[in-house]
């Protein structure tokens, strides 16, 4: 087998793995969009905030430490304990649920029935607020996140591929974990939405508010639930990205990569988010591998948006999105 084909296969696999991480972020968008029609610009910041909170709790950092020190002249930084990873994740999940409640109570509760563009603007405001709030609470340093996930070369794949092709593929263990987690998450979310009472209620609210009220569904409860779910997905994405790249404020920018993913997969489809993520991940890696050298490289920065643009022209509802039919 020629070398370029073998390299291409490795690039393809790595593209799939990268795509899973994009899909994780896109999932959070789809959840909120499906249930409330809000395009949540803050989803990326939500992931950042979750990762920051997780690191802060694990390290036993004093929240608002800088602020407290500045006001009271104290020198508080750490409580002096460390919280085990699993407990810290559970606590962070609780914080995300609390955040969901507060966000719904203070912002979206008051915007019921407003135009989508107004809700969208509100989420932009929320994104900037959360970024600042995360900074004030936990500080702006780049942090290392280690919840005990395996990282680095997977020796088994390396060995198998070496025996097959005479060349060992580099596949990161973390990416493999992310793939498994994403698969579990998607199956769980789809099952929840399709076959449980609350999932059904969630779809009902997305479909028709009046009808949902008339069968006894509390809109507020469903919205808090949906924002909590989105917060939980953000936490998972935050853990994966944070472990990979360190917890830093540029994490919120990965949300931008989720946009082309959504345009491919459709804003309303959970499986679409996954497939869209994979296509973007594989597409940009393969494009860089095949075409990149010819045009001077750095195609990964724009390839995803190009592809999204093509989709917007030919299939605006995405691969799996609901077809928009306007009755005349």
């Amino acid at each position: 087998m020629p070398d370029s084909v073998i390299f291409g296969m490795e690039v393809f696999l790595n593209g799939l793995m990268a795509g899973v991480l994009y899909a994780l972020v896109a999932l959070g968008f789809v959840l909120i969009y499906k249930a409330s029609g809000i395009f949540n610009y803050a989803q990326g910041v939500l992931a950042l905030f979750a990762a920051l909170t997780l690191v802060g709790i694990m390290e036993g950092q004093v929240p608002f430490g800088h602020l407290i020190n500045a006001v009271f002249g104290t020198n508080l930084h750490h409580f002096g304990w460390e919280v085990p990873a699993l407990l810290a994740i559970a606590l962070t999940a609780l914080v995300m649920v609390g955040l969901a409640w507060v966000v719904n109570r203070l912002v979206f509760h008051h915007l019921v029935g407003q135009d989508p563009i107004i809700l969208f603007m509100a989420t932009i405001g929320l994104a900037y607020f959360l970024e600042g709030f995360g900074d004030v609470t936990w500080g702006a340093d780049i942090r290392k996140l280690d919840v005990g996930l395996p990282q680095g070369l997977n020796p088994w794949i390396d060995e198998v591929t070496y025996n097959l092709f005479g060349y060992g593929f580099f596949i990161d263990n973390l990416d493999l974990v992310a793939t498994v987690v994403a698969a579990i998450l998607v199956v769980a979310l789809v099952a929840f939405a399709q076959y449980s009472k609350h999932g059904r209620a969630m779809r009902a609210v997305a479909d028709d508010h009046q009808a949902a009220l008339s069968v006894g569904i509390s809109l507020n409860f469903i919205w808090v639930m949906v924002w909590s779910l989105a917060g939980f997905v953000a936490l998972v994405a935050g853990i994966m990205w944070g472990t990979k790249m360190g917890v830093q404020f540029s994490l919120s920018l990965i949300a931008l990569k989720a946009l082309p993913v959504l345009m491919l997969g459709g804003f309303t489809s959970i499986p679409g988010a996954i497939v869209g993520g994979l296509i973007i991940g594989v597409g940009e890696k393969m494009f860089e591998f095949a075409i990149g050298p010819l045009v001077g490289g750095a195609t990964e920065n724009w390839f995803a948006y190009m592809l999204a643009l093509v989709f917007l022209v030919f299939r605006p509802q995405g691969l799996f999105g609901e077809k928009i039919i306007e009755r005349v």
Partner: protein
């Protein structure tokens, strides 16, 4: 006064019980417009109670007051012997008051089965965590409720469209699905807002039959708004007549038919 003890049996053998709901001096305003003015009436267990009146008489407003979509400025709603505080519509629904809408409010993207299942939310008590983990009780509950829903689907003869997305159904069937969803809640009071509006004669006959059958089979207390006078007179045990937000008549179809105020305001000059 509420007299839950009182009751009687109709000519066709249905049991009418005591008062289950009482509207007392209800007044509803939108800004300066008075939609309902000082109306009182009661609803008895097991009866079919119609509210009729010309366009803009306030019939739908009255239904919205009962179902909690509007809260009246004055007056009291008594339900099962207790004064009802101002409530959100979903709380009213959880108390066992189910409704349909004049313009049909179904979950268009969901299948008929899923639509009817949402009606069971009141009966399903397991919490979010149990639902999410899908363990034991939640599963048993889902199965039990599914069985109840299938019974209603059979009863309303919509088995053949169980898996069809609602958006693909014709108007008449949508109305029937909406009725099924309301019935799935096993309501103490079933509110029907113009259940036969926009239907052809055949569909109207079907719907009338279903309303009567439901009442007969499950003893469901039914309050309905209807334009078609013939239908109302055939279906209902008692009729409230509204005009310009006021009550101008209340009684059996025969009593209402011979009430001069009603004839003047609504029926016009009798043709026969």
């Amino acid at each position: 006064m509420l007299d839950a003890s009182e009751g009687h049996v109709t000519a066709d053998g249905r049991k009418i019980g005591g008062v289950v709901m009482e509207m007392r001096n209800i007044t509803l305003r939108f800004g300066g417009v008075v939609a309902i003015k000082d109306i009182s009436f009661d609803i008895r267990e097991g009866e079919i109670r119609a509210i009729i009146g010309p366009n803009g008489a306030g019939k739908s407003s009255m239904l919205n007051v009962i179902s909690g979509f509007y809260n009246p400025q004055e007056g009291e709603v008594w339900y099962k012997g207790q004064k009802r505080p101002p409530m959100k519509p979903y709380q009213v629904a959880q108390q066992g008051i189910a409704r349909t809408f004049q313009n049909i409010a179904l979950f268009e993207g969901m299948s008929v089965l899923d639509n009817v299942m949402t009606g069971r939310i009141r009966q399903m008590k397991t919490g979010l965590l149990a639902q999410a983990l899908w363990k034991g009780r939640a599963e048993a509950e889902e199965v039990a409720n599914r069985a109840a829903v299938e019974k209603i689907i059979d009863f309303l003869e919509i088995q053949h469209i169980r898996k069809t997305p609602v958006s693909r159904l014709p108007y008449g069937l949508k109305k029937r699905v909406e009725l099924a969803r309301a019935l799935a809640a096993e309501p103490s009071i079933l509110l029907l807002d113009e259940p036969m509006a926009g239907m052809n004669v055949e569909e109207k006959e079907d719907m009338s039959r279903f309303i009567l059958d439901v009442n007969d089979e499950f003893g469901t207390t039914t309050v309905l708004i209807e334009h078609d006078m013939g239908v109302v007179m055939d279906l209902s045990d008692r009729v409230v007549v509204m005009d310009y937000g006021k009550k101008i008549g209340d009684g059996t179809p025969e009593e209402v038919r011979s009430n001069q105020a009603v004839i003047d305001a609504y029926l016009g000059v009798a043709h026969d």
